[in-house]
């Protein structure tokens, strides 16, 4: 077993990954969690390179950071936009009665 400077790097990388994921899973602000998740994905890409898996690293960099992040952000925005009262047309058809007393459609961005 060879303990080298590389092992130190491994430990540091692993600890950073764990710290990031702990934070992203426990931070109160969901928006912050999503941002942390994107950086987590980038760090994972680095890890895949370290593990001699360049194919996976490429896929992770493109998918994990380039697509999953925007997906989360747009979902978050869609939810927030809805909550601020900009109702969508199509969700009224199945609505039950008690939703009637719902936000007036005032606020726009």
């Amino acid at each position: 077993m060879i303990y080298s400077i590389l092992t130190l790097f491994d430990i540091l990388l692993a600890l950073t990954l764990l710290w990031l994921s702990w934070n992203l899973l426990n931070t109160e602000d969901i928006f912050k969690a999503v941002v942390l998740f994107i950086s987590f994905g980038l760090l994972m890409a680095l890890t895949w390179v370290r593990m001699r898996a360049p194919d996976v690293a490429l896929a992770e960099a493109a998918l994990g950071a380039g697509l999953t992040g925007p997906l989360f952000l747009s979902a978050l925005r869609r939810m927030n936009r809805f909550l601020k009262g900009e109702r969508r047309l199509d969700c009224d058809e199945n609505r039950e009665k008690d939703n009637g007393k719902n936000p007036k459609q005032t606020q726009a961005t």
Binding site: M1, Y3, D10, M79, F82, L83, K84, N102, P103
Partner: protein, 111 residues
């Protein structure tokens, strides 16, 4: 083999953290994030299994192919789950992100 050990254990810890968050937290986005962290953990163990240090032979390509497959699957499932959670939010009268009725959030906004 110390490298394999380090990353395997990290992957396992990621899996555990994700699992705990998935069960305990009730916000849909947080749950989806947790599932993603879990799957990353599993992939990490798999890739670490295949790892061979430079100069000591080839890396096993089968786990790499499996992980590639897995990453694409997890992205597509994440996207579907996100859209589904948006729909759930739009048809529910609770603010799922903040755990209170929708009306309260709306009031907060108009203020």
């Amino acid at each position: 083999m110390i490298t394999t050990q380090i990353y395997s254990i990290t992957g396992l810890l990621l899996f555990g953290m994700g699992l705990f968050t998935l069960i305990v937290h009730s916000h849909p986005l947080r749950k989806i994030l947790a599932v993603n962290v879990m799957s990353t953990g599993v992939f990490l163990i798999l890739i670490a299994t295949a790892y061979t240090p430079l100069g000591q032979g080839e890396v096993d390509p089968v786990p790499h192919a499996m992980v590639l497959t897995g990453i694409v699957v997890s992205v597509s499932v994440t996207a579907l789950a996100l859209i589904l959670s948006c729909r759930v939010q739009e048809t529910s009268n609770r603010d799922l992100l903040r755990e209170k009725p929708v009306a309260e959030t709306a009031k907060e906004c108009t203020r």
